[in-house]
Subunit: 354 residues, 2 copies
């Protein structure tokens, strides 16, 4: 049994590999050849007033790779007010001011636990790669300009993915914090070899682009319908960033999973500020027959039918098969490079069964 | 982070400790002071014809103990025919002919992973202890005679638990395999210090006892209504063992969880023989307003109201809080005895968060 760290994942795993893994796996999933246990979140009070404990799990199995993945996180969370709005924040409460989020990979053919590693880096890569495959099947072929709202931890892998599926020549970045958007632009320009320009408003980032990515922490809609133009592809991680009028301008909408929200198990009578806002009631009513990306990749429904359509891919809720797919590729690469620390496999096996 | 094995659990954990932990935790749960993510099972084909891969998770958090538990299993399964009926069988497919089932305990106050250990021994203890608490609140006070159907891996801890909550003086055991019931009787008599008698029929085991435990692998009902007598307490792990007419004779029915069955996620269009039979349609229709043991322990509903009532506790479906409760006690005992192998905690933590 091998234990890896985030640096191992970063060193071994490229966006191209992630894009291939997600595409292949979504094709399988769309054809009924992969399966998930949906994400479930459990919430309890924390000994310290104003904090909460959150435990999340999701799983997925991809027979093509002979891999089943479990992803879990065990977190202390708080709800501080940042720049006038409250946000959900994970507190680094574990020893050494750290967080806990883990991926475990299991071998389908014999059941054994192959490896355990933190989810931090791979999490971003699988989210980015999935938005990338969304754009591959839904954006216009000649898409070259990208606008992005947000410069936080999901933004970088979103841009890596867009550059992996289209010949991108220009990127505009808006986030409310000036320092953040400048630093992010410099970093991404270096990493991608594409011009990345920080801009002073959301409107400026959205106007005249072929692909709009929303990847912010905002708790309110960021877009206006008049900023969109025909032929655009829009992609978000959370639907809250899109207002209802903008939503009405989308000609084609595809989602990552059929679930509107994770399964939620709070302790009885227990409520935290509603920050992880799912699909709105309006959105749900308007699109009762929601289609998912796997159906597009498997060729069951079209991604885009006309050049002037405005398409939308909502990259939520996450699926366990994303971790199985990207994790399987990482595991093989890491093994071939001799990465990881070894723990005897039989520590995690038993001679009893239940 | 500590890794334990089944022997550590067996050496450190007594049934009395498990009974206390389950009772305390069920009282909390009945008062809304503990929470679960329900059990979910995922199923895929296996590379070898006739076999399947099954991945199961369940979680629970008990703030009283500052513990959150995840229990998972990763198994290759087959459906051989044994003594004329098919059974679900876990194949020891992992290296060294082993199985994989794990419990992981997390600290609510800081999120860290405290320990990992196999679920084999603890699994039986938590099932036994829960049936024990069912009997504590539902059996008549003077219950002294126990009949048990089955001599397999759940039967032993069921008897340990009954002896932990009532002054048991005589036990009768029936299972279809003569050698099994004799060997089991000898072993349990030695372990419990109570007379344990193997008997030649289910009827003989059921007649004139105060507590009937069904803990077999049978795929068909084992009981007949005329074998019951007033004042009896009956407890099962799976409802299939009780036929509908017997069911109609129960005056009071309590279940372990509100779920009728685990959440089930098979790969599309995919079916295995239906062996893990849940609550029957008949049973479900007859008891739409099912009550759970936690409500009894918390004093919200009565366990038994009259000496002549026939009571029934169905110990399914399992709950994550059972693992949190019994796991928390085991962890403290194991720590105080210096058990386990240590792995650096920071291998399972990260400086990124998602």
């Amino acid at each position: 049994m091998l234990v890896f760290d985030n640096d191992d994942v970063k060193n071994a795993l490229s966006m191209d590999v992630c894009l291939d893994a997600i595409e292949e796996t979504y094709r399988d999933y769309g054809q009924g050849q992969a399966v998930n246990i949906p994400r479930a979140d459990m919430l309890t009070p924390h000994p310290q007033e104003g904090y909460f404990y959150e435990f999340k799990t999701m799983s997925g199995a991809v027979p093509r790779y002979d891999i089943c993945a479990l992803r879990l996180s065990s977190s202390v969370i708080g709800f501080p007010t940042v720049l006038g709005t409250f946000r959900k924040e994970k507190v680094p409460a574990a020893p050494g001011n750290r967080w806990l989020g883990l991926i475990m990979l299991y071998r389908i053919s014999n059941g054994e636990l192959l490896c355990v590693f933190p989810d931090g880096y791979l999490q971003r890569m699988r989210v980015g790669a999935t938005s990338g495959i969304g754009a591959k099947y839904m954006a216009v072929e000649r898409a070259a300009r990208v606008g992005i709202l947000g410069s936080g931890f999901q933004a970088g892998s979103q841009l890596m993915a867009m550059c992996g599926v289209r010949k991108i020549t220009e990127i505009k970045v808006y986030s409310p914090n000036r320092d953040h958007r400048y630093a992010f632009s410099v970093e991404m320009e270096r990493e991608l070899g594409v011009a990345v320009k920080p801009v002073g408003s959301a409107e400026e980032a959205v106007r005249d682009v072929d692909i709009l990515v929303t990847a912010s922490n905002a708790m309110v809609p960021l877009t206006k319908p008049e900023w969109l133009r025909p032929g655009m592809h829009v992609t978000s991680i959370r639907p809250i960033e899109i207002d209802d009028e903008t939503f009405d301008r989308f000609d084609r909408i595809v989602k990552n999973s059929v679930e509107a929200e994770p399964l939620y198990y709070p302790m009885e009578g227990f409520k935290t500020p509603d920050t992880d806002v799912g699909w709105s009631t309006y959105q749900r009513e308007r699109f009762p027959q929601l289609r998912i990306l796997a159906e597009v990749v498997a060729g069951k429904i079209p991604g885009r039918q006309k050049p002037e359509e405005i398409t939308y891919f909502l990259n939520s809720v996450g699926l366990g098969i994303q971790f199985a797919a990207v994790g399987a590729k990482f595991y093989d690469l890491a093994r071939s490079r001799g990465l990881g620390k070894e723990i005897p496999t039989d520590w995690f096996l038993q001679t009893l069964h239940t």
